[in-house]
Every structure is written in C-alpha cells, then in structure tokens.
C-alpha cells in the first residue's frame, strides 16, 4: 500500500494544496494569458487523482463523493449554456458576451470567465469520475 510510505504521503500532502491553487490560477488567469477552463479542470482533477493513488480510491471517494462529481458535471454545462441564454435574453446573439455589461469589454471579460468556469467545473468532474470509475473497487460499491 502506497499510503504506508511516509515520504510519498508527506510529499503528496504537501503538493496537493499548491496543485489546487495552481489550477485556480490557470482558471482565472486564462482571461489574460495561456490557460483556461479545460487545463484548469484537468489540473484540479489531477490533485484528486494523486490523492487517490496514494491514499486509495475509497479515501478519494470520501473527498469527492459521486453526488458531488455528478453536480459538477451537470452544473458546468448548465452554466455554459445558461450564459448563452442570458445573452439572448439581454438582446444579443447566443454567447455574445458584449451585452452582459454596459461596457462591452467588461461584458466580454465576464462572459468568458463564466463559461470557462463552467468548462473547468465539468472537466474536473469528468476527470475525477472517469478515474474513480476505472478503479475496480468503485464497481463493487455502485450503490453509494
């Protein structure tokens, strides 16, 4: 069991918070530089995957229960499409962010940040779900 190796345990515990933080940095900096929702979602999920490798899938499932990943998967898509519907209701085209604020530039910032957050949420949820589903122990406890 990898969790008995104290070096691995300590190092991974040290690494996980910066990984999560870095994911958020990539997420919110995507507006100005390289990055964005997809990359951020993958990095965010990799923290859970590392946790699951070292401490086992069961512990990872406690940290990210299936109801949570299901909500992440769904809400990300809904947020993305919701922004599109909102822009339509505010008189613009589908996903025309300029109408989101009185200043079109600010509107673009708000729009792109929101949909990228939606992408990030769904991608992180999908990555965690896929990894944990591949772990056999989850298959035996489908009812959870």
């Amino acid at each position: 069991m990898l969790s008995r190796k104290s070096v691995l345990r300590v190092v991974s515990k040290l690494l996980i918070p910066p990984i999560l933080l870095f994911a958020l940095y990539v997420q919110f900096h995507g507006d100005f530089g390289p990055g964005g929702g997809f990359q951020a979602g993958v990095i965010f999920a990799s923290a859970f995957i590392l946790y699951s490798l070292i401490f086992g899938a069961h512990a990872a499932r406690l940290a990210a229960p299936s109801w949570l990943t299901r909500w992440m998967l769904s809400c990300g898509v809904l947020l993305y499409a919701g922004v599109g519907v909102a822009t339509m209701l505010m008189g613009g085209d589908f996903l025309d962010y300029s109408v989101l604020a009185s200043n079109p530039l600010l509107g673009q910032h708000i729009g792109i940040s929101l949909i990228e957050f939606g992408v990030g949420t769904t991608v992180a949820g999908a990555m965690i779900t896929i990894f944990l589903i591949f772990d056999g122990s989850i298959l035996n406890r489908r009812d959870e």
Binding site: W71, L73, L78, V85, D93, F94
Partner: protein, 495 residues
C-alpha cells in the same frame, strides 16, 4: 428577439435538459422532462421549417461574430426537413419509451438513459442546422458518443461489444471527416460552408482537395453505413435497447446521409464533383446497388427480426445513396423523400419490435408465431411498415421507389431501374417470412401468454404507421419540399 433565436433554442433546449435530467435522477421525472423537451424541439422545428418554406433560408450568427469568421447557423429546405424528421421521431419515441425503458434498463441507470438520449438529439439537430463544417464535426461527435453509450445500455452483454465496435468504426469515420475538413481548410482557409463553396472552384483541381473529398466521403460513408462499411450497424441495432434501435434507425444514419448531401452538393458544388471527377459517381452507384442486394439477401436469412431490420436498413441506405449518385434533380428528390419515408417506416417497425419484446421477451422468428391473433394491433402496424418497406402503392415506400426509378429511366439506365424493382422483390422475401409466421402459423403450446401492447406504446406506433400511409397517399407536402430542396442543391447556388 426570441423568435430570431429559434434555431439555436432548438439545439440548446435538449442540451440543457440533459444535465438537468442527471440532477433529477428519478426515472419518472427525467422521462417527463425529456418528453416536454422533445415535443418542444419538435414544435420549434416545425415553426422553423414553416419560416424556411415561406421566406427562404434562415441565418443566425453565434457569439456576435459574423460569418465566415464566426460560427453561422444556416437552415434551408433540406436541413429543415431533416430537422423535422429527427425531432418528430425523437418526440414520438419519447412518448413511447417509458414502459420499454423501465423493462430493459436497470432502474438506477434510467436517468442516464434519458440524459444520453437528449444529448444524442442535441447532436443530431445541431448537424442539420449548422453552416460550419467544424461545428458539424462537434455535433457529430456529441451524437456519436452518446449513441455509443445508448447502445451499450442494452440488456444483452453483447451490447457492449456491439457498442465498442461501433465506437471504433464511428471514430475512424469521424477522424476521416476531420482530416478532410483539415485539408479543405489548408487550401481555402475557411470552415464556413457558404464560404467554402465560393472558394472551392479555384482549388478544385488540386490533389489536396481530391484527397479531402476522398476522406470526407469515406468518413461519412462509415457513419451512414454504406455497404461495405456497414459492419458496425447490424449488431448495434440488434443489441441496443428497443427504444434506442428505433431512435437510431430513424435518425442517426439519416442525418449522416444529410451530411453527405451537404458536403457533396453544397460545399463542393455537387454536379461538378459527381460528373467531373472520374469514378465518384460509378463507385457510389455500384456500392449502393451492391448494398441493396447483399444486405437484402442477408436479411432474408436472419432469425432475429431486429437484426433482419438492421440489414434491411443497410439496403435502404443503398437506395438513398443510389438516388444521390444519379446527380439529377429527380434522383436527389428521390433520395430526400426516401430519407423521410424510410425514417417513418423503419422507426415504426423497430417500435413494433420493442412492443413485442416487452410482451413476449424475444424478437426471433419463432417468437412471432401466431402473434397476429395475440397482438393484432401491433402486428397490423408491422404489416403496414413491411408493405411500405417493399414499396406497395398507397404507402410511402412506393413514392420514393417511384422517383428513384423515374430518375434511372431519365438517364436511360434501364438496368438500374430493373435492379431497383428486383431489390424490392428481395424485401418481399424477408417481410413475408414474418407475416407468414405471425398470421399463418399457430402459436406454440408453451408460448408465453401475450396481451396487446399498452396504449402508451400502441399510439406512437400507429402515429408512425399512420404517417407512412398518409404521406403515401398525400405526398404533395413532402414532395414539394423535397423537389424544391433538390433543385436548390442541384443549382449549387449559395442562397
């Protein structure tokens, strides 16, 4: 404001309903949501088709970016017709599905079924409405990925291998498609269909564009199951849940045919390709005819009726491609109208199989014995669908065969016309086997006691069967749309 956004609403309503269905989790609630949403998209599609018929193609830009830089949605007659077909089948099958789904799919996965169904519908509707070749690829993947999942939900364990095989073949098809798009982009620098059509004549003689056409044709042919690229289809339709077989048989391959029409006639300016690049027309025609005969011959020997219907689908795809390969207005009209007609009858037939599988538990030829007496209404619908498959007058099948034969005679291809008639005789052979078993054989002593299918299934089945009679007798509406669409496509004018 909202009316102007109808095209996008038709696509994003099912897209947004899918995650909501996942969050609802309760089978009944998810079904109700899917039911409301599918009927809403059907209504939207009808309104859109009405607008297109009245005042020409609809354009819509996405995200405030003008075409050709941004993604453009563009709905014309042929797109509108396919959209109505897809959403009509989607909504009728959703009405029908509940009892069948509850029997065939584990309870804790039913909400996932409805979510996937809605996503698949999103992808198929999106393909019909987009005016951008890359956006089309995205929708193609949405619909394909969700249909792999839908097929894998089948209760027989072989559904998994069937879905896996479809996944491999479908992915190769999608890859070929995107390679073709990439090559076109390399030569023209655009992804917008109208823009591509304008730029295409200047680059049409380059080898890169010929390679692009080859990749696109093979890729799409994999998706629409043109013989001999149909190997994924029979197992996928056989082992998928009944509702899924009915839905995919009526929509997935039809939409792929639409993509082929779109690429060959809109993007490449059709007639030029089929007539001027040597071999294209002959290859399509030969494969179509081969498909009609080989697949029909295999269908005659199938014991599982779902598999028989699947092979019959491959044969019918042959007729549709044959119509395209004539490269004439009549031929294309025949193709478009057969697209519509075959969707009606095949959906009805697969829905009948779903009802039988609900009551009897199996769909082999031995299960059919004596069913004419035990499930009279269900089997009567099967007879209607079967006659239409053969192409008997007063059914929709006759109208489309008539146009195909007319197209063949127009070009003095009497041999082809004869082969079309001969192909229909093949259909008589496989349809008759079932009618004989159902009406002229006694039910075995130990047969399950079967009663008529529930009204919630019978009604949608008869809507489809009734439609395949109605549009066979009064084909004016569909024929007008198909003829206009074919003329617009043939003229190659970008409206």
């Amino acid at each position: 404001m909202i009316v102007g956004n109808f095209p996008i609403l038709a696509v994003i309503t099912p897209l947004m309903a899918a995650p909501i269905a996942v969050l609802l989790r309760r089978p009944g609630a998810a079904w109700l949501l899917a039911l409301v949403v599918t009927w809403a998209t059907f209504t939207l599609s009808l309104v859109l088709l009405g607008q297109v018929l009245e005042s020409g193609p609809i354009y819509l830009r996405i995200g405030g970016w003008d075409a050709p830089w941004g993604i453009e949605y563009r709905l014309d007659r042929v797109g509108g017709l396919v959209m109505v077909i897809v959403s009509a089948i989607g909504s009728v099958i959703m009405t029908y599905s509940r009892a069948s789904v509850e029997k065939e799919i584990p309870k804790d996965r039913i909400y996932l079924f409805y979510a996937m169904y809605l996503l698949c519908l999103t992808g198929l509707l999106g393909i019909t409405i987009t005016g951008d070749v890359f956006n089309l690829f995205v929708f193609l993947e949405i619909s394909s990925l969700s249909s792999y999942v839908l097929i894998a939900l089948g209760s027989n364990r072989r559904a998994l291998t069937a879905a896996y095989r479809y996944l491999i073949m479908g992915t190769i098809g999608a890859t070929f498609y995107i390679i073709g798009v990439g090559l076109m982009y390399m030569q023209t620098g655009t992804l917008n269909m109208s823009d591509l059509a304008t730029l295409m004549p200047t680059v049409i003689d380059s080898r890169v564009i010929h390679a692009a056409l080859a990749f696109l044709t093979v890729g799409i042919s994999l998706k629409l199951a043109l013989f001999p690229l149909h190997m994924w289809l029979p197992n996928a339709y056989t082992f998928a849940p009944s509702t899924v077989s009915a839905f995919l048989a009526g929509t997935a391959t039809k939409v792929a045919v639409y993509v082929l029409i779109r690429i060959v006639f809109t993007v490449f300016g059709g007639v030029v390709i089929l007539k001027n690049i040597p071999g294209v027309q002959e290859i399509l025609m030969t494969l179509a005819i081969a498909g009609i005969f080989v697949a029909s011959a295999i269908a005659v020997f199938q014991d599982n009726i779902k598999r028989m219907l699947a092979y019959s689908s491959v044969a019918q795809i042959g007729y549709i491609i044959l119509g395209i390969s004539f490269a004439s207005t009549t031929g294309l009209t025949g193709s478009i109208i057969h697209l519509f007609n075959h969707a009606l009858m095949k959906t009805a037939l697969f829905m009948v199989m779903g009802a039988i599988s609900l009551r009897i538990g199996g769909v082999t030829i031995t299960d059919m014995r004596g069913l004419g007496r035990r499930m009279p209404w269900t089997m009567a619908a099967f007879v209607v669908g079967g006659l239409s498959l053969i192409g008997i007058p007063l059914t929709v099948g006759f109208v489309s065969k008539w146009y195909l034969i007319k197209a063949a005679i127009e070009q003095d291809m009497l041999l082809i016309a004869g082969l079309i008639v001969l192909g229909s005789l093949n259909a008589v052979a496989y349809v008759w086997r079932i009618i004989e078993a159902a009406y002229f054989q006694e039910a075995p002593k130990n047969a399950a006691v079967a009663k008529e299918a529930p009204l919630s299934m019978l009604l949608p089945i008869w809507v489809m069967a009734g439609a395949s009679i109605y549009f066979g007798i009064n084909a004016t509406w569909t024929l007008n749309i198909a003829t206009d669409a074919a003329e617009a496509l043939m003229s190659g004018i970008i409206q």
